[in-house]
């Protein structure tokens, strides 16, 4: 049992933190998220140069062969400054799926350029009218003489309009399969828009759109999708922890400097106690996020263990994110709901993270099915 990072990991964190903190302060972030594509292409390239965009991929696939701990470090730094670059969406989730399911050829073809920052790959999975399912029903795949075509709507797809490659889940005979669709494919229409957290999403309409099957065979990929979502969930947990940390720091600073009734707000015990409770929430979710990362990285972790760890991370992230996000605004007062001040954007992003891949109540429902399994063991 060891919660500490090694020297190389520390160095990685320093480098990423330096880059992102130079790239973003609240003003710069507001400017970048106002323009398309909602993130800074230069920062994206710099992350690529640093090896960050290839972190979790095997070296033979063009990656760095690092583990989830490194992913966690990067996600945390992203969260701290609310960097809008789609690291979790693209590298962890879409890239993770390609790495897990793709053929050697596909991995080389898709992950190399992704790692180099040359090709943005995203996972088009959500469908209007459904909520957090690992399967696809609204997009169907058909196999013709010329190969596969996809028809249906995916929405909202994070960075879906900017993406160079879409990994699309679609219903096939016997389950859900995964497909690769290029940005220039026929019958592909994408309409992008801003989301409340400053990032971008899109409706992706497929109409007999040619697609390439990801991996070999059309066996049901639901379990692969579940696992990829679990890994992304844990990465999001770290992004959220980073965001919560800054939200708390910002709030503490505000309490120290803002005066009311002739004294700093930090003289009001009802407020400082609430800040203390925020700290408790933060440390608890940080622990779970770190642990879930270790479960992901540990040899011999079963898929069930990975899914359960992700659900626990999701539950705690949801609870802590809501708690800290709401309190950060409330303890600020009016300025907290303005777009001109930073703290509300943290709440906005925390709300987004909470709803991208499944919220706390949803995770609780899944965990509730497993409670008969005896004691929860922190130390396996």
């Amino acid at each position: 049992m060891d919660f500490t990072f090694d020297t190389e990991q520390h160095a990685l964190r320093e480098a990423v933190a330096g880059l992102l903190q130079r790239a973003y302060d609240p003003e710069k972030r507001r400017a970048v998220t106002k323009d398309e594509p909602g993130f800074d292409e230069k920062t994206w390239s710099q992350l690529a140069e640093m090896g960050v965009l290839g972190l979790p991929f095997a070296e033979e696939d063009g990656g760095m062969g690092a583990g989830q701990a490194e992913v966690a470090l990067v996600a945390t730094e992203i969260g701290k400054v609310l960097a809008p670059e789609p690291f979790v969406e693209s590298v962890v989730l879409a890239g993770g799926l390609v790495a897990a399911v793709g053929t050697a050829e596909q991995r080389a073809e898709l992950l190399g350029p992704l790692a180099e920052g040359a090709s943005l790959v995203v996972f088009a999975h959500a469908e209007p009218g459904s909520r957090w399912t690992p399967t696809a029903t609204g997009v169907t795949a058909a196999q013709g003489a010329d190969g596969w075509t996809l028809t249906g709507v995916k929405e909202p797809v994070p960075s879906g309009a900017r993406a160079d490659v879409l990994v699309v889940s679609a219903a096939v005979e016997g389950g859900t399969a995964l497909f690769v669709v290029r940005a220039d494919a026929a019958g592909l229409t994408r309409t992008g828009y801003r989301t409340h957290d400053g990032t971008r999403a899109a409706r992706v309409t497929l109409d007999g759109t040619p697609a390439e099957l990801l991996g070999e065979g059309t066996a049901d990929r639901t379990a692969d999708v579940e696992l990829a979502l679990a890994r992304a969930t844990v990465a999001y947990a770290h992004e959220a922890v980073g965001a919560m940390q800054t939200a708390l720091t910002t709030t503490s600073e505000y309490l120290k400097t803002r005066k009311q009734f002739g004294v700093p707000l930090s003289k009001f015990q009802a407020l400082t106690f609430r800040a203390a409770d925020m700290y408790v929430s933060l440390e608890l979710v940080r622990s779970i996020a770190l642990w879930a990362t270790m479960v992901l990285d540990a040899e011999g972790s079963s898929p069930e263990a990975v899914l359960a760890a992700a659900d626990r991370a999701r539950l705690q992230t949801s609870k802590a994110g809501r708690h800290i996000g709401k309190e950060a605004i409330q303890l600020h007062g009016g300025i907290g709901v303005t777009a001109e001040y930073s703290v509300g954007h943290y709440t906005s992003r925390l709300t987004a993270i909470d709803h991208l891949l499944g919220d706390g109540a949803w995770a609780t429902g899944r965990l509730a099915e497993r409670i008969d399994a005896g004691t929860v063991e922190a130390l396996p």
Binding site: A126, P128, G129, S130, R131, W132, T133, V153, E155, P156, P158, T191, G192, Y193, R194, T195, H196, A201, R203, K259, Q260, F261, G262, F268, A270, L271, R322, K326, I329, Q330, G333, G334, G336, V337, T338, A339, E340, G344, H345, T347, S348, T351, A352, H355, L356, L357, G358, D359, A361, W362, T364, G365
Partner: protein, 392 residues
């Protein structure tokens, strides 16, 4: 003790319900129901319809358009407006400056302002909060200095809601900086927003909208007759006005509508292979919220039936505190129902297949963080309850 409304009150409720659902344009009510921004023109149109029917300012003195309704009738009136998604008469006019002028203004001011205020011919905005005077309102610094027949105003206000639409502002200014208590040296001035020296800067909010503003005053000359009530008694008027603000701020009707909508939305979403509304934990959450809201509504009715006219009942702090919490809980519920669809937040209608309610869910949730901050933050309400009611 009697559960049912009296036949008279039932008839009154039916009358209100019928009026609001037939005389106020459906398109405007649809906009309110869908949480779209209400335009200035829509506000004015509705308030003028209400005013023509004597339904805009029923709580004013009868000679200025008020009705001698019981507190329960006023409650029903407001509740039915909210249930029917009618934009309520502009609070700055109907609940704030109007009653203050009616109570403390001179006859000339009453005649000059009250009819146009009731009819929203004048759109008022509020100049109270300042950058360094939020919950600690009495420490405001905007100064009015007497110069001949004018007051000369310098300073800055903030959080001025819908100030961009306003014709006039009612403004707390420090007129006696040497007063022993900071509350004693404050006066209430009114002046047009186009007076030279007044500038306005809209503040973008988290939901991308603009509803509050900063207002700057640079040597703004205000004629002496624009002082409301007595010099240096502005704090009393502000307290009177903020007491009025708290009444009706429980917004039970509006929250009720949100819960009804939430249930409808939850039938549209598939979760775990079935409609979300069939999920036991979702149902339990809704059942709890409905019970909480019922408890709030009943408490509002109790406060209403105990309120001695004019004086704000300290128990109204419960309504503001809990009312804001439940409004926020309802917006959070809708975000959770929308789930991943909530991410399509700023998509235009033609750019998305995601229903409008799911798109507006998170911006609304974020915007509603304000309701526990404005109108006396929940911390202020707890201070009132602890101090005034519990004697702590």
């Amino acid at each position: 003790m009697q559960l049912h409304l009296s036949p008279e009150d039932q008839a009154f409720r039916d009358e209100m319900r019928t009026f609001f659902t037939t005389q106020v344009p459906q398109s405007i009510r649809d906009d309110v129901a869908a949480h779209r921004d209400v335009t200035k023109e829509q506000y004015v149109e509705v308030q003028q319809i209400l005013n023509a029917a004597g339904l805009a300012v029923p709580h004013w003195p009868a000679e200025w358009g008020g009705r001698d309704w019981t507190p329960l009738q006023r409650h029903i009136w407001r509740e039915e407006m909210q249930l029917a998604a009618v934009p309520e008469p502009l609070a700055f006019n109907a609940s704030m400056i109007g009653p203050v002028i009616a109570a403390f203004g001179n006859q000339e001011q009453k005649e000059r302002f009250l009819p146009e205020t009731a009819n929203l011919d004048i759109w008022w905005c509020q100049g109270f909060s300042e950058p360094d005077a939020g919950s600690d309102l009495a420490s405001l610094r905007t100064a009015a200095v007497r110069d001949g027949e004018d007051w000369v105003v310098n300073g800055q206000k903030t959080w001025t809601t819908l100030g961009q639409h306003a014709d006039w502002i009612f403004c707390l200014c420090r007129t006696d900086p040497g007063a022993e208590k900071k509350q004693r040296g404050i006066s209430l001035l009114v002046f047009p927003m186009d007076t030279p020296g007044v500038t306005l800067r809209p503040i973008e909010l988290l939901d991308g909208g603009f509803e509050v503003n900063e207002v700057f005053f640079e040597d703004v000359r205000v004629p002496a007759e624009n002082l409301i009530g007595e010099e240096n008694r502005g704090w009393d008027y502000a307290k009177f006005l903020l007491g009025n603000e708290r009444v009706g701020i429980a917004r039970v009707g509006a929250t009720k509508r949100m819960l009804v909508d939430a249930k409808a939305h939850a039938t549209q979403i598939t979760s775990g292979g079935r409609p979300l509304i069939e999920d036991p934990s979702m149902r339990a959450r809704i059942a709890e919220l409905e019970t909480e809201l019922l408890a709030l509504e009943l408490t509002a009715l109790r406060v209403v039936s105990n309120s001695s006219d004019g004086k704000p009942n300290p128990a109204s702090s419960v309504l503001k505190l809990r009312g804001s919490e439940l409004q926020q809980a309802a917006t959070e519920l809708i975000v959770d129902i929308a789930g991943p669809l909530s991410l399509a937040s700023f998509a235009d209608d033609e750019a998305t297949d995601v229903p409008e309610w799911a798109r507006s869910a998170t911006p609304e949730f974020l915007n509603y963080r304000k309701v526990s901050i404005y109108g006396g933050s929940n911390e202020v309400q707890r201070t009132i309850i602890a101090g005034t009611i519990l004697g702590l």
